[in-house]
């Protein structure tokens, strides 16, 4: 590995971490699409900043970009408040307009601006090591490393300093207000961080892909845990993993680094989506099937419990009245019999004492909706054991 390669991977990993942290909060606060809007909208700010300074690495660019990101948030919220259109339409109207302005400004001044449309969409991570920061004649590393490093440092220190406030206001805005943290301050603080990070990452990975770096790691982590701290750690791990593996994928395919990073993110999400232990597609599917059976069985037992008349308890009644197909009905009867819940005499079904106790407990649980009651039931009955 050459030093340039190491530097690229380092920058990519820092970008991934810097994006993953605000991303977690955006996903939890159901504002994932705001990051989409911000990432598109920083473009006109960047271009105007460039016209003023003629230096792509000037801090003014970051400031202008972040300002136009925040302006977008304000504009979206203003349009939502007018109630002229639905909320999501407001987002959908503002950012394409802002992005168009940016693209056109670049196109009209193509000769002056060293930004081209490819750079806007993909960034120029591969060239990042060639733009060095030289202080007093000493080369201290690539400029983008310093920029994103600084942003990450700010994000991290804000995260540590305001972790409690962020946590409370994310999960319970009402409580946050009553504790004296202004949700508005935290909201705009988060928006500002998201904007600044987007601008910093933009250079490396381009406008639209920043969105993936913010949302995908957080969404993946959210499928694995509910704990905010663990979620942050997981997001960072997924981000860094995708950054490094994405780099090598791009190296192998000779394709865009940022595109590969996102592809890896998508791949990781897909795997977790399918196989996550409790929330993955497969386990949800399995559990739904189990629960469906449980509910059906309970319905059946409850029905037996409710009716003393023999005709209601005749085995053929199941398909007539309960409206189940024969096969389904048979499988439920078998299940109940296997668990010694019922006895069948002359095609008339009756609850066993065990079945009766079980049913009564189930009713209790259903009426009170008290989860602690079902805990004791789980021991008696294999279906409830997850």
């Amino acid at each position: 590995m050459s030093s340039a390669q190491i530097e690229i991977q380092l920058i990519a990993s820092l970008v991934a971490i810097a994006c993953a942290i605000p991303g977690v909060f955006l996903v939890l606060r159901k504002m994932a699409l705001i990051s989409d809007a911000i990432s598109h909208s920083i473009l006109p700010g960047l271009v105007i900043g460039f016209f003023i300074t003629h230096d792509l690495n000037s801090p003014l660019l970051i400031l202008m970009g972040a300002l136009s990101g925040i302006l977008t948030v304000v504009l979206v919220e203003y349009i939502q408040k007018t109630k002229l259109v639905k909320e999501d339409t407001a987002i959908g109207l503002v950012f394409p307009a802002m992005f168009s302005i940016g693209v056109l400004l670049i196109a009209k001044n193509a000769n002056d601006v060293h930004l081209d449309v490819d750079a806007v969409l993909l960034g120029e991570l591969a060239f990042a090591p060639f733009d060095r920061l030289i202080v007093n004649g000493i080369d201290i590393g690539p400029k983008s490393l310093w920029i994103i490093g600084t942003i990450l440092l700010i994000t991290l220190s804000l995260l540590v300093a305001f972790f409690k406030e962020l946590k409370v206001s994310t999960f319970d805005a009402g409580l946050a207000t009553s504790l004296g943290f202004s949700p508005i301050v935290i909201h705009y603080g988060l928006m500002s961080i998201a904007s600044v990070t987007t601008v910093g990452a933009f250079d490396a990975v381009g406008a639209i892909l920043v969105v993936a770096l913010m949302i995908a790691p957080a969404a993946t982590a959210y499928l694995l845990t509910n704990d905010l701290k663990i979620m942050l750690v997981f997001s960072v791990i997924f981000g860094v993993f995708s950054a490094i593996s994405g780099y090598w994928l791009a190296h192998w395919l000779d394709a865009s680094i940022s595109g590969s990073m996102i592809t890896m993110l998508g791949f990781v999400f897909f795997l977790v989506y399918l196989f996550a232990p409790n929330r993955g597609f497969i386990s949800v599917l399995y559990r739904n099937k189990q629960q469906q059976k449980e509910v059906q069985l309970l319905t059946f037992l409850l029905h037996l419990n409710n009716h003393t008349e023999e005709n209601e308890r005749h085995i053929n009644h199941l398909n007539e009245h309960i409206n189940w197909h024969k096969i389904k009905a048979q499988s439920i009867v078998d299940l109940a019999e296997k668990n010694n819940m019922i006895v069948i005499n002359n095609q008339i079904i009756a609850l066993t004492p065990k079945g009766k106790i079980f049913t009564e407990k189930a009713i209790d649980y259903i009426i009170t909706n008290d989860d602690s009651k079902i805990e004791s039931m789980k021991k008696d009955f294999f279906l409830f054991r997850g």
């Binding site: 059906q296 319905t299 409850l302 009245h321 309960i322 409206n323 259903i366």
Partner: protein, 245 residues
Amino acid sequence: MEIKYAVTVDDLTVAYNYKPVLWDIDLAIPEGVLMAIVGPNGAGKSTLIKSILGIINPIAGSVSIYGKSYDKQRKLVAYVPQKGSVDWDFPTTALDVVKMGTYGSLGWVKRPGKAQKKAALEALEKVGMLAFKNRQISQLSGGQQQRVFLARALAQNASIYFMDEPFQGVDATTEITIINILKELRKAGKTVVVVHHDLQTVPEYFDWVTFLNVKKIATGPVKEIFNDDNLTKTYGINYKVSVQQ
């Protein structure tokens, strides 16, 4: 005399995401009654009428309307959903919404014509909203919106009416208008089922009541079963109403 039942529900069980909402409900609603369904929040009142109407699929049980399946008897049934279930900023007028009540009898593709417009106008007049027929629906008050919904159901010209909280957040005029129409419907021999949550008005407005809390607690004439015992069973706490008979 044998009672004729407009709606019979057998062993109905409904679960949302496999969480039980209604359990093994047996219910028979006699023809010509004005019935309230009462119960605490989350008792499954709306779910009950939605599954009778086929909006929600039950996991067990069956529903019949005058002895036949709902699919065959659709035209006998009208529905007034909760007011909050639709977007009132939708670009349409009161008359247009009421006309929708006639779409079911028209079937696919056919357009509403003069007869449908006439039916819609009559329904609007009944609820006292004829003057507002061309008003955009967002410019109506909450009570007026509710009356438009009622008019839409009237335009269906059905035998059985299901209403989901029609008295929720309406003004006094609307409440009186609605209850008068309900009583008129009953006089005409129609059956009306209302999800209701103002217990105080039950004896005054209705003649039949069903207590529901996930399971059916009781159903029958208000005079016989609307008592503290059933209320306590339904609401869980020691319930006392000052029933003004």
